[in-house]
Every structure is written in C-alpha cells, then in structure tokens.
C-alpha cells in the first residue's frame, strides 16, 4: 500500500515521548511512533486509554506537557494555517451549521482550502447524492457521519484524521466508508484512524498500535500484532460416530482433546495437521462435520493485551472461523 516514490521521505506523523496529564492523571504517558506517508495507521484501545487525547494533540486541538510532535513536519501546537490546509479531520460528535444543505456546506468549507475537490464528486464519494439539497439537521446519524467525511476530504488533504469514523453506520455504510478510506490510500494519503472495531482495524490498517492507560503496549501489522502469526492454530470438528479420539492419527507437537462431541486439535503447523486429519478421514470414508481451522483474531490479541479478558480460554473465546 506504500507509494514507493515516497520511501525515505520524511514521515507524515512523528511522535516522540508525547506526554499529557490532567492533574494527577497521565492521559498520555510518553508514547512514540511514526506514521509513514501513504500509510493507514490505526490506534486501538479501550475508553480512557488516551486515544482521543493523542489524536486531538496531533490535530492541534490540545496542548501537550512534553515530547515532540510533527505532522507533515509542522508542530500542530503552532496553530499553523498551512498544516490545517493540508489535513482533514473527522471528529467524534461534531456538528455543522445545520440550517445549510449538504451541497452548501461542502461548497462553504471547500473555499477555505487552497486545493479543493468538486462538490458533486465528494457527494458521490460519500454516497449522499440523494441528499444533496437536504439541510444537515434533517440527515440521519449515519448520513451526518458521511457528511463529516466529505467535509474532512474537501480540501484534498495529505493527512486525514478519522476519530471513530464509522460509529453509528449500518454494515453497508461501513463497507462504503472502508472503500472510501482505501481509495484515499490509493491516492497516497496518510490516514490516522481510531476505532473500537477490530474488523475495521484488521481490514484497513497497515499498522495498529494498541493503547492502554496512556501507553502503547503493542504496535505492528495487524496480522503480526502480539505475535499473532506465531500463535498455534486450532482445528475443530465433530467426532464421527463410532470413532474415538485415540483412533485419530498420531502427530508430533499437536495437542488433542475432546470437548463434548467436538474434537479440538491445537497445532503450530495447521496445513500439515489438517492434511493428516482429512487424509485419515478420506481413506476411511469418514465425514468430518463442521470442520474448521482458526487463528487467534486481532480481537483475541487485543483483549489479552488490554487485560479486558482472562488469559484466553481458547475454546470459549470468539474466533474468526475459516470454514473449510
């Protein structure tokens, strides 16, 4: 997803030892990270972890107590107009002049920027064509969020901040917003995203940082975060009638157990193990019902890292099923 022509260029966002406290509370307790140009970077974390404080410092809305912050090489605390000209912001719960229509608002905000995108092109992009001449106060929650997105993109920004952009969307609208974000990174835009939705982070982000209590506790590609790619996989299927656990083929480094009538096989080599089991079943003409192979999901890793769940009980935790 990276634009190779920008490799080696200055990062879009640089944060070094950022600190912000409110009295005794360390909302952000010394975090560091960089976001490359053209990257989609996602900040995940429970409420109160310091996500919004971090984003709002990057956007120039809040001051910091310590550390260095640069967005496009500019300190957002300087209130630089040039920086605001090149960034687009979707805030949580942020109103508009609600007596103006969708088209009027996009037109009005567009004029503030040196570059701007065409009104109808943006309306099309966020799928509000049917609401073009409707006043903002008459829009539904999801339509308002789409208008927010359009207003964030109206200045054709280099960096886009999206603070929980799809909250309140129905599934179809979320997929629409995701494809909009993907089209942004195809254009080489940098996207800084916070979200509560694991699938959103999984689908959109090049890299994810997980925050807890003001600190970043894990950072990396969504499929590698917290050693996710190194965790054992789990194979499950119904024990075929007339067979017992001991009849299954013996395999090295594999744990087998029976949970009710379901067989659970934990393996670090899912392909080899699955092949051995299915080969065994095919030879004997046995049907393995509800056969599945799963890896721990981003959500499993997230819950484990943020301490929101006990060390995972692999059977009961929600898993993303890749049904074979």
């Amino acid at each position: 997803m990276f634009d190779t022509s920008l490799v080696g260029a200055q990062p879009a966002i640089e944060v070094r030892d950022l600190r912000r406290s409110y009295g005794e509370v360390h909302a952000v307790a010394g975090i560091s990270f960089e976001v490359a140009r053209g990257e989609v970077f996602c900040l995940l974390g429970p409420n109160g972890a310091g996500k919004t404080t971090t984003v709002e410092i990057l956007e120039g809305y809040r001051s910091r107590n310590g550390g260095e912050v640069r967005v496009l090489g500019i300190d957002p605390a300087s209130g630089s107009r040039e920086l605001r000209d090149r960034t687009g912001i979707v805030l949580q719960q942020c109103g508009v002049q609600s007596d103006l229509t969708v088209a009027e608002l996009i037109e009005m905000y567009g004029r503030y920027y040196t570059r701007r995108r065409a009104v109808d092109e943006l309306i099309e992009l966020v799928d509000l064509a049917g609401k073009r001449d409707v006043r903002a106060k008459k829009l539904s929650g999801g339509q308002r969020r789409r208008l927010d997105l359009a207003l964030a993109l109206v200045g054709d920004p280099d960096v886009v901040f999206l603070d929980e952009p799809t909250t309140g969307f129905d599934p179809a609208a979320r997929r629409g917003a995701w494809s909009t974000v993907r089209s942004l990174c195809e254009l080489g835009k940098t996207v800084f995203l916070t979200t509560h939705f694991m699938d959103e982070a999984q689908t959109l982000a090049d890299r994810v940082a997980i925050m807890r209590a003001g600190e970043i506790i894990a950072i990396g590609r969504p499929d590698e975060l917290g050693g996710r790619d190194l965790r054992p996989a789990e194979i499950r299927f119904l024990l075929p009638a007339g067979w017992s656990l001991g009849d299954l083929p013996e395999l090295p480094d594999v744990e087998r157990s029976l949970q009710g009538d379901r067989v659970l096989v934990v393996t670090r080599e899912p392909v080899r193990t699955a092949n051995a089991i299915t080969g065994w079943a095919l030879e004997r003409g046995v049907e393995l019902e509800r056969f599945s192979v799963t890896q721990p999901t981003l959500e499993d890793i997230y819950l484990e890292l943020t301490g929101a769940a006990e060390p995972p009980d692999r059977v009961s935790s929600a898993t993303e099923e890749a049904i074979v």
């Binding site: 120039g60 107009r81 040039e82 000209d85 109103g95 002049q97």
Partner: protein
C-alpha cells in the same frame, strides 16, 4: 515547549482572506434567515411589540417628556430592543449552540482564520441590524407618523453603531458564562428583560426612584434607548449626539470586546 521552531504564520491580511470573510457572510446570512426559531426570537418579536404597543397608545402624548407623542418615544425604544435582540440575544444563543454542537471546534480545524470567521459573524449581524432598523423605522414612519430628523441623523447613526458594537461583542463574550446551549435563552432573558423595564424601552421612567435610574444607567440598555430617543425627540437641538449615553456605550463596547476575546482565545478542544 518544542526544541524545533515551527513555521510562523504571516500576520498580514490578504485579499484572499477578505474575500473569505465575504464568502462566510453569505452563508451566515443564509443560515440566519432560514432558521425560523431564531428569526422569530430575534427579528419578529421586536416588530410584533412595535405593532402591539403602537396600536394600544395611538394619539397619546407624554407630558413628562415635553408633550411629545407616545410613538416618538416608543419607536426608538423598540428600535433599541430590536438592536439588542438581533445582536446580543442572537449572538449569545447562536454562539452557545455553535460551541455545544462542536461547530466552533470544527471551524478551528479548518484553514479559515479565526478572526475571519468572527468578523464574518459580526458583519452578518450588522446586516441583520440594518434590516431591523429599516423595518422598525419604516413601520414607525408609515404607520405611526414618526419623523426621522435630518439634523439628528448623525447622532442616530452613531448611537446605532455603538449599540451594535457593544451588544454584539457582549453577546459573544457572555458565551463564556453560559454552561450550555439550553441555558443561553435563560441567561439572555435574565440579563435583558428586567433591565428593559427600567430602561425606558416600554414606557418612560421619569418617575422612577433615583436608585433604579442609577442602576439602569449603569447598564448599556438604557443608554442605547435614551440615545435613540434623544435623536428622535423634536426638542433635541444640534446633531443628536447625547454625550453621556455614547460614552457609556463606548465603555460597554470595550468590556464586550474584552469578554469576546477571552472567549475566543479558549481553544475549543480543551473546553468540551
């Protein structure tokens, strides 16, 4: 705070910024006239009071004010009330709503300079005051036979300008003290309505106790009403400048600008 120095903004006002102000005025106007609720509260009320009170007291004269007709007293009083409604009341309520709904925060995140946005909001308000003045005086002249005197026109205009300046800036500035948008109409009514009764808006207050007159004269409503009535009073000599009233309005403008700047300097991100 930071070791690396950041680029500083050029402080000059460019032609592009001025055209941005005009651009914003257009949209502020559109939003104002479209919002029926605000239009009623700030524009229709004063006009309605003008018609009601004017109709109740036709052909009466005020001996306490040298025998001038009631209308000559009442039309400038309502004009003063109209100025306050379209500036102070309008600004105090709409700014609290813009703040609570996060519009001010959103505007702060755009490249539109804050001064340009505020200037456009004020300029838009001045246009509304102009419309209010035309409607009020138009009805006063046509329906109630009030005379606009050429001699005192300078006084009338200067009083209107200072009144608009004082009440617009006070309206923005008071937002600092309104906890939320729901409280704004309450605070506005509490600060305006009681004072109008002792400020010669609805009826003359010549027989009022001295202490109440002093209270009324301390606040800016009475100076605005008195200043406008002075310009309309047929007994007024000269250009219609009532020094004491103008001085009071000027002082309240300074207070208003001070409060407005204090409100505007708060970063919106830290408020919510």
């Amino acid at each position: 705070m930071s070791a690396l120095t950041s680029r500083t903004e050029s402080r000059g006002v460019s032609r592009r910024d001025l055209s941005l102000v005009l651009w914003q005025v257009r949209y502020e106007q559109r939003a104002y006239w479209r919002n029926r609720g605000r239009g009623v509260f700030t524009f229709v009320f004063p006009v309605m009071f003008l018609v009601i009170f004017g109709s109740l007291n036709t052909n009466s004269h005020l001996r306490s004010l040298g025998g001038i007709s009631y209308d000559t007293f009442f039309v400038p009083g309502i004009l003063a009330y109209g100025v306050i409604a379209t500036t102070y009341v309008n600004m105090a309520i709409s700014t609290a709503i813009l703040r609570d709904e996060g519009v001010l925060k959103r505007m702060q995140g755009t490249p539109l300079p804050r001064w340009a946005y505020v200037t456009a909001r004020i300029a838009s308000t001045v246009l509304i005051v102009g419309a209010m003045t035309v409607v009020t005086l138009g009805i006063g002249v046509i329906a109630y036979g009030v005379h606009i005197r050429a001699a005192t026109l300078p006084g009338l205009i200067l009083t209107l300008i200072l009144g608009t300046a004082a009440f617009t800036t006070l309206g923005i500035g008071i937002t600092r003290f309104t906890p939320n948008a729901d409280a704004a109409p309450v605070i506005v009514n509490l600060t305006v309505l009681p004072l109008t009764f002792i400020s010669s808006i609805w009826f003359p207050t010549t027989t009022m106790p001295k202490a109440l007159i002093d209270v009324a004269k301390f606040f800016p409503i009475r100076p605005l009403a008195d200043g406008l009535e002075y310009a309309f009073n047929p007994h007024t000599a000269g250009a219609g400048f009532n020094g004491g009233d103008l001085r009071s309005l000027a002082i309240w403008t300074v207070v208003g600008v001070f409060l407005m700047l204090r409100f505007l300097r708060q970063p919106q991100g830290e408020v919510v």
